[in-house]
Amino acid sequence: MNRYPLWKYLLILAVLLAGLIYTLPNFYGESPAVQVSPLRASLKADAALLERVEKILKAASLAPEVAALDGNSVKARFADTDNQLKAKDVLVGQLGDDYMVALNLLSRSPPWLTNLHALPMYLGLDLRGGVHFLLQVDMKAALDKALEAATGDIRSALREQKIAYSGVSREGNMLLVKFRDAEARGKGEAEIKQRFNDYALNAKEAGGEFMLQATLKPEAERRIQDSAVQQNLLTLRNRVNELGVAEPVIQQQGADRVVVQLPGVQDTARAKDILGRTATLEVRMVDDEHQITPGAAAPFGTDMFKDRDGNLLLVKKQVILTGERINDAQPGFDSRNNEPAVHINLDGVGARKFKEASRENIGKRMAIILFEKGRGEIVTAPVIREEIGGGRVQISGQMNTMEAQDTALLLRAGALAAPMEIIEERTVGPSLGADNIKRGFDSTKIGFIMIAVFMIAYYLMFGTISVLALGANLLLLIALLSMLQATLTLPGMAGIALTLGMAIDANVLINERIREELRNGVTPQAAIHAGYDRAFGTILDSNITTLIAGIALFMFGSGPIKGFAVVLCLGILTSMFSAIMISRAMVNLVYGRKARLTKIAIG
């Protein structure tokens, strides 16, 4: 009765083997590495880039242990930090502004493991060191901006259609449009309804005035807030690239919050500075009257900027528009020839200014310049073909879809859609991170040894089997965490220790049951069978209640606590498997074949 069919042994063996493979990378440790990633969507990390990186490193007589393509970046691993830093400097100098060169850590595990996607556990910021920011997007400001823009837009729309109105004003979250008579209001209503789909209109008369109340529809409000967060995410991503962080996490959390995690960043002051910075965008005319003399200063009344391909251009000092006037920029296609294009939507004031400027400068080039870090760069410099009114501008010609996307992103990302505020910061220095790993590891090790000694002394053979099953549990848990690449935090490490302490419960339950059966005079084989059989229900019950706690913690916990919850839940699952299946398999192997078993070593 205590025999497993062959397939069960094989299954257990296969699970343990898989566990071993996925646990292995954790033993190799990590080495310093540099990571090169393209900053523009039109550039890809490919074999050519790898070759280039290798060539640059070779020229500087730096020999990386491994250089390989990984996702959209090239990674090169070095024996020590000294070489890593040298390599970074060389690469930054040679690759230029189009690529980001970041410091990183790379697993030393052999390639065959990496090919199996067997990676070491993903350490949280409290273990590897780094910065965690939680930023809150000011939604009210985003709505204010939209309402402000609409006020101007409604004014110019009514003026354009020659509809007599006596005023457009903003009252809280409502726009109030006043008309002289009902007829004008009727026309105005039709016009606004058609052009401003986002607003719900309500006609009202008060004090002899004919008014229209325009309020943002709830779905439009949601959309504006959503796109504000999306735009801020994009902007943050651009800015974080500049920090040279290898694996940044930039995510939306809830409706109006953004999480930014920068592993390995120590200079938090600089990180905060860059995240909070406002970039500006300017539209100016290109100066064709003067000649560019490289190296010389720009002629009077002009500035010299580089475009994205590195060519120099002279532009006039006079600013036509600033980026604040851009409501939106989206990549798309030219409706006439289907070429990739960028569609820009200006607000009322911007539209008027743009109309004037385009009328006066047909046939000339205008430049859109992005200022960041006090340095200007020309995003694009198209030729004006005709007068452009209505605030809808299209830039097309000589760009591919990727470049259109890049340009639209840059135009949008120039500024944050709404201001953000840091509402939570957690920074852990690298020394504390390393200490935390050591402490977590030490306490787990000592705890495990104590339990092992006690179990073996108390339950003899069955104790030994329980300890082996507990070891298998640890192996499987670490394998699972590595496989899922779940973030391991310090509370997560505590969770590993705690689940081990709790997992032994199942084996104690089984062993106690077997002893009890033996005491009642049952034969050893029957006692083993009954022990496992009867303890099963209890083990299931008690694990499920802990699982409920784990799931609740996962749902409501944040950061490190979530890490604890993940380990707790996974640990319960692996402990069920190892305490019941694996320990039973071992007991069956040891005792199952003996037909006349008179005594078992259970203390």
């Binding site: 977590g440 008690s542 706690a549 784990g550 609740a552 913690l553």
Partner: protein
């Protein structure tokens, strides 16, 4: 080896009056301290800034305080953290200064006097976040409680669910009472520990309840008190051994895990200790109080209606 070779059942239920009194008294003490002293909530919940710094030489706390007062933070709480080289600085939320800038301010103030100050950790929690964390914590506690009651109800009977959750809430209140009495810092990780204890110690009640149910089926002619006594006595060995094992792990964590895990491990250690007591000596008397009986498990056999045949 065997620690508990108990021949006769221990009449736990007849001690019911004493154990309930003891529980009630500790419980009331805990409630009293919670009401008068309250919890020393960490910055996770009330917001504020914590900066941990490391000095190459043993730090002079008085000087550190003076240096901080000089940069406009006389209200900073300065204490050693783990060793004499490590200093923990706690600054409450300030109206004027943007929260995230505060930590830089602190570090600048200290580096003016000693350039070798190493930043170990910075935590800043804004007031909005603190409110959210309190709310989420309460929700998690509620969800865990309801989940456990629901599961035990499904698996056993409502009396068991209620008895188990009351016994374990009593543990939770006692842990909180300890934190209140000693004014230990109650942080997010302590809350996680409390919830883990809640899930874990319910295990204990489940094991005893399982035995009670089994006894109801097997020991048909026995009194309810004897059935419960027998169930507790026979599971006692297992209870103490498993809790001992878990406690060993937790103590290793408490001693070796460092300052960051200190209160987390402390909450677990206290919680596990009390869960042994409560699941045996609180949950079962409560079960008696709710009037558990054999009929809760075994549907009385329906006697067939008498038929009158012509």
């Amino acid at each position: 080896m065997e620690f508990f070779r108990i021949k006769k059942d221990i009449p736990f239920m007849s001690y019911g009056r004493y154990t309930t009194t003891i529980s009630l008294v500790t419980f009331l003490f805990a409630v009293f301290f919670l009401a008068t002293k309250g919890l020393n909530l960490g910055i996770d919940f009330i917001g504020g800034t914590v900066v941990e710094v490391h000095y190459a030489q043993p730090a002079d706390l008085v000087k550190v305080r003076e240096q901080l007062a000089a940069v406009g933070m006389p209200d900073a709480l300065v204490q050693n953290f783990g060793s004499s080289h490590d200093v923990l600085i706690q600054v409450p939320l300030k109206q004027g200064l943007a929260g995230a800038k505060l930590s830089e301010h602190v570090l600048e103030g200290l580096r003016k006097h000693d350039t070798g100050v190493e930043m170990r950790r910075v935590e800043f929690v804004g007031p909005q976040v603190g409110r959210d964390l309190i709310e989420n914590g309460a929700l998690a506690l509620l969800l865990v409680s309801l989940g456990i009651i629901g599961y035990l109800w499904l698996r056993f009977e409502w009396k068991f669910g209620l008895a188990a959750i009351l016994a374990n809430m009593h543990d939770v209140v006692i842990i909180l009472g300890f934190f209140s009495f000693f004014q230990w810092e109650f942080s997010l990780s302590v809350l996680a520990a409390v919830l883990a204890v809640l899930g874990y110690s319910v295990n204990e009640s489940v094991v005893v309840f399982d035995r009670i149910r089994e006894n109801f089926r097997n020991m048909r002619k026995t009194e309810v008190t004897e059935i419960i006594d027998n169930a507790i006595t026979r599971t006692m060995s297992r209870t103490i051994i498993t809790h001992g094992s878990t406690e060993m792990m937790v103590l290793a964590m408490l001693i070796l895990g460092g300052e960051t895990l200190h209160y987390f491990a402390m909450a677990l250690a206290i919680g596990i200790l009390f869960s042994i007591y409560s699941s045996v000596l609180v949950a079962s008397p409560l079960l008696m109080l709710f009037g558990v009986s054999r009929e809760d498990f075994i549907k009385p056999e329906k006697t067939e209606a008498e038929e009158v045949l012509p």
